[in-house]
């Protein structure tokens, strides 16, 4: 046989090999290293990577990190989970927790022996559903506003110690607008479903029924909320909708571009904004119905470490979670980027850096701890859809395509369709 020509048998063999090569990756068991996934902006990714380095130098098992911005993370995780290919250790947000836990995609951590002895019990148990623990809180967080006090003073205003009432806040915002060329007293928060939760609780009801089957906040409260921000926009105390639409990224936010003196968000997010603002940001409670009444706010673990039900490395995954929660180097690397640390030990370690934005955030949570209301139940299945729906409706109102009344009705209808499925 001429060695340079293929025999029929060689060819057949090649064909079979090609076919096998094509098929094999599809069905072979995945036995790579443990995968660790999380969401968050760059600073979070850097911090967790540093903590993972500490894990590695302590002789921890091999791992492969995956990170993405919040919105993209959920698209990816949904696809991975349905393909039985979810990461082993994953960061879970309360916004989607019930969707995943309720569908059996998360492991019960009860028997894996993760050391949670030093954790605040409320945070450690924030992932407990029907006696099973599907996730361990990474932090305790609360809603807050961050104010550029220097800018307020320069405009001749002042900041009340306990934050504003909603009425006083509207007055403040109107006065501030125009004190600096092209500035607004507040960013527009009409689309902020999480700030609205505080507002709803100030009006006497939680957002959802205990079992998550329906909306309990009244339609009139929703309407009042949309109307409040519509009035601020009319008074030019808050920017028009198209400006808000371009200010969603942290670095384009009004406070970062000097067009507003304040921003709302979860307390730890002050550390994302602080590097973009020259003077220190003061952390305050969000506006209240009655001055000093913080019952609308709550402190809760809203981000969790979970292990996917399909994980092939549950023991290593559990060890890693224990490490991230308890090891000094990991705690220091993470700081408050995931929220106020969930143990006394960690808080002491992190607040040691006096007068950092992180220390101010921790001080804020400790300060309001005795004054806030009881924590709501885990957000129900379908929360993610309501979160984006609320924002969309607020946007429609902002562009004059809906009224506060019709928008409130639309949201009630959406909640009726989404909840209790």
């Amino acid at each position: 046989m001429n060695p340079t020509t293929f025999s029929r048998r060689t060819l057949l063999g090649l064909g079979a090999a090609t076919a096998t090569a094509l098929v094999l990756p599809g069905c072979s068991a995945k036995s790579g290293p443990m995968r660790v996934a999380w969401y968050g902006p760059d600073p979070v990714t850097k911090a967790i990577n540093n903590a993972l380095q500490a894990w590695k130098s302590n002789g921890g098992a091999e791992f492969a990190p995956e990170s993405a911005p919040f919105a993209d993370y959920w698209d990816k995780l949904a696809t991975q989970t349905s393909g039985n290919n979810a990461p082993d250790v994953l960061r879970m947000s309360m916004s989607y927790f019930s969707d995943y836990a309720g569908r059996g995609t998360l492991k019960d951590l009860g028997s894996l022996g993760i050391n949670i002895s030093g954790l605040d019990p409320e945070v450690a148990g924030s992932g407990t559903v029907d006696g099973k623990n599907y996730g361990i809180g990474q932090s305790s967080i609360s809603y807050a506003m961050y104010v550029d006090e220097a800018a307020v003073k320069a405009a001749g205003g002042s900041i009340p110690q306990q934050g504003w009432t909603w009425d006083a806040f509207a007055e403040f915002a109107k006065d501030y607008t125009g004190s600096v060329q092209g500035s607004f007293g507040s960013s527009d928060q009409a689309a902020n479903f999480q700030l609205f939760e505080v507002f709803a609780r100030q009006h006497g009801t939680d957002l959802f029924a205990e079992d998550g089957s329906k909306l309990t906040v009244g339609r009139d409260t929703i309407q009042e909320w949309f109307q409040y921000w519509a009035d601020l926009r009319t008074a030019k105390a808050a920017p028009p909708q198209n400006v808000t639409g371009e200010a969603t990224a942290i670095e384009k936010s009004l406070i970062a571009t000097g067009k507003a003196p304040l921003q709302f968000g979860w307390v730890q997010q002050v550390t994302f904004y602080q590097p973009l603002v020259k003077s220190p940001l003061t952390v305050l409670p969000v506006p209240q119905g009655e001055a000093g009444d913080l019952k609308g706010q709550f402190i809760k673990g809203l981000d969790l470490w979970c292990i996917s039900a399909a994980s092939k490395h549950p023991e290593d995954a559990a060890k890693l979670i224990g490490f991230l929660l308890n090891d000094e180097a990991a705690i220091k690397a993470i700081g408050i980027l995931l929220g106020v640390p969930p143990s006394k030990k960690a808080r002491d370690l992190v607040s040691a850096e006096a007068d950092s934005a992180g220390a101010r955030a921790i001080a804020y949570v400790e300060e309001i701890a005795g004054k806030v209301g009881p924590s709501p139940q885990p957000w129900p299945k379908g929360y993610g859809e309501l979160l984006t729906g609320f924002g969309r409706i607020a946007e429609n109102i902002g562009f004059g395509k809906a009224t506060p009344a019709s928008g409130a009705g639309e949201f009630v209808e959406l909640a009726g369709k989404t909840l209790g499925k």
Binding site: L11, G15, A71, S82, T248, N396
Partner: protein, 308 residues
Amino acid sequence: MTVRRSAADSFGTRLRRSVPGYLFLLPWLIGLLGLTVGPMVLSLYYSFTDFALFNTPSWTGLQNYLALFHDPRYLQSLRVTFLYVAISVPLEMAFALAVAVLLNRGLRGLAVYRALYYVPSLLGGSVAIALLWQQIFGSDGLLNQVLGLLGVEGRGWISEPETALWTLIVLRVWQFGAPMVIFLAGLRQIPDDVLEAAAIDGANRWQRFWRVTLPLLSPVVFFNLVLQIIGAFQAFTPAYIISGGKGGPSDSTLFYTLYLYQQAFGNFQMGYAAAMAWVLLLIIAVFTGLNFVLGRTWVFYGDEGVRR
């Protein structure tokens, strides 16, 4: 050995003879069955169920399909998509044809121009260009800066619902290069003697274009039209990137495919999304079919010239 095709060959012989052929086809066949046909059949099945990504699907009949027509956001996505197709496709085609005709006049450096105009088509659907678009049409963007120099006050082209879709239409028209190259190839096929004959008969340039060039080019126009309509219905990336996945502002860029994606991967409504996908297939099929039927009245193929 000579290949002999005779009816006398038994079925077994023919089968044995074709085995190597099928073996060579195998990699492609596996892809076709596993990655295209299989998922399509599954998605057809899911479209009749309440599949929500993590549950076991249960049969719900036509419910998903019926729900579509009571879903205001679905209807909005239809409106946006039809508007997009109806405006961007004719504009893009006209642009492509005009540039192709200009380039066909024997310019020096034709290859360079051709490549230059074709580049946007290669890049146009990409994330990078969508991000660039965001910069150009943002309220502090390039366009407003240029307008500012001219003393015109700009607006937030992307952040206002009245104009956002138009930026996407411009983006599509800007990618006229692909149909242009095909037009150019078509123009090259038109014999000079026909045009010369028309010129001798006294037809001016305009008449020659409408009476000779365009009819002879009509099969190419038809081909481009069919492809562009299908492509425009399936547009996704630019809207996804420019609106941050939301289809905003105020659902003004909520393309059909984008809403489908939101339902599938945002809200986990896989059954509903599958139903949407099949309706889109149907819409595209109807449009393509309509194109072929209408095409008979205006598409002129050289080989039927004698009969006409």
